[in-house]
């Protein structure tokens, strides 16, 4: 249930990113202004670093778009595909392993190195590459987010059960 809510919220974020394009088709620029206003604190919104659809700039840059799309895809993959097709389920109180750490480090290092080199002016990587690195990192982040949220729900449910049991044992009920 909570995983579904998380997927819906990340999906809504993506819809907001594409809102200027929808607003352009509908002919309501004020909606586009609202979307730009909301994302302004979280992204530089430079036109040369953002994707355009029908000549309308999206709310965030290529890297951020990749991150948001990746997060959505990651949570969706963890919540639906991984469970249905690979029957991967987080055990209660999932502990981290070295393998998980290594899987996380690769996209994280890629996006950090690309971001640093770009901001220092050493390279100027094309939009599609930023988008790709952003998507890789976002997918990993979404997967991790799904895993963390599910584990948190299981932990809190377990705590609730233990609380009830101890109350019964002490004769409160």
């Amino acid at each position: 249930m909570f995983l579904l809510l998380l997927q819906a919220l990340t999906g809504a974020l993506i819809l907001l990113i594409y809102l200027p394009v929808i607003a352009f088709w509908l002919g309501i620029p004020a909606l586009a202004h609202l979307a730009y206003f909301l994302f302004a604190p979280f992204c530089h919104q430079l036109p040369e670093r953002s994707f355009h659809i029908s000549g309308v700039q999206l709310c965030v840059c290529a890297r951020c778009l990749g991150i948001y799309l990746g997060i959505f895809a990651g949570t969706l993959f963890y919540g639906v595909i991984a469970k249905v097709f690979f029957s991967l389920k987080a055990e209660k109180g999932t502990k981290v392993s070295r393998t998980l750490r290594n899987i996380i480090l690769i996209p994280l290092l890629l996006i950090v190195i690309d971001g640093l080199l770009n901001s220092l002016g050493v390279i100027n990587s094309p939009g599609w590459l930023r988008f790709l690195f952003g998507t890789g990192f976002g997918f990993m982040a979404g997967w991790l987010l799904g895993m963390g949220v599910e584990d948190l729900i299981k932990l809190s449910a377990d705590r609730g059960v233990r609380g009830k049991n101890s109350a019964c044992a002490s004769g409160v009920n």
Partner: protein, 197 residues
């Protein structure tokens, strides 16, 4: 939830730092690509792993990240609200201008409905509520991810440290923590035994 006593410290420090850095002019450039949110989450997870006495689980990392994001988001929203109310007139003008620039293509009856909706949307109070909800959402999600990454990266290292410490304690237990009443060495006794002749 075995490390509950360390939650408050982790999310309070990280949340306040995240919120302050996101709001201070100049430093808020770090908000680009949600950098402060990621780093705030990373910090909260790191503090939790460092201070925990028992293995930290992914769910605990998510919880700490969520709360630090909410605290940071609230601080940022408050600061944004203050700056927003100072320039609210400009925003209303921009919204009205943007709406009227598209007015010619829409039929008059629909235009009227949209105009009413736009007036409602451009109301500072509603806009602020939408903004606050949105900021809290982004802060919470990004901070949770940061914290989970931190737990995944740092927990194996701190777990090893904890294990080494435990082993060290077990090996040196009698020397480090002498239990009253138990004799470790002959000299530990207050009244040493007399040697039998």
């Amino acid at each position: 939830m075995e490390n509950r006593e360390h939650y408050l410290k982790s999310f309070l420090i990280a949340g306040l730092l995240m919120g302050a850095l996101s709001s201070i002019p100049g430093f808020n450039l770090g908000n680009c690509c949600c950098l402060w949110q990621w780093l705030g989450g990373l910090l909260s997870g790191w503090i939790l792993c460092r201070s925990a006495k028992k293995p930290v689980q992914m769910g605990e990392g998510a919880l700490v990240g969520l709360f630090s994001g909410l605290i940071g988001g609230m601080l940022f929203s408050l600061m944004s609200a203050m700056s927003f109310y100072m320039g609210a007139g400009d925003w209303n003008a921009t919204m009205t201008e943007a709406f009227h620039s598209s007015g010619s293509e829409i039929p008059p009856e629909i235009q009227e409905v949209i105009e009413q909706a736009m007036q409602w949307i451009s109301h500072p109070g509603l806009l602020l509520s939408i903004g606050m909800f949105f900021f809290l959402l982004v802060f919470a999600i990004m901070s949770m991810i940061g914290s989970l990454i931190s737990v995944a990266i740092f927990e194996p290292r701190f777990a090893l440290k904890r294990m080494r410490q435990e082993m060290k304690l077990k090996v040196n237990a009698p020397e480090q923590f002498p239990v009253p009443g138990l004799m470790n060495r002959e000299s530990d006794l207050i009244f040493p035994r007399k040697k039998e002749e």
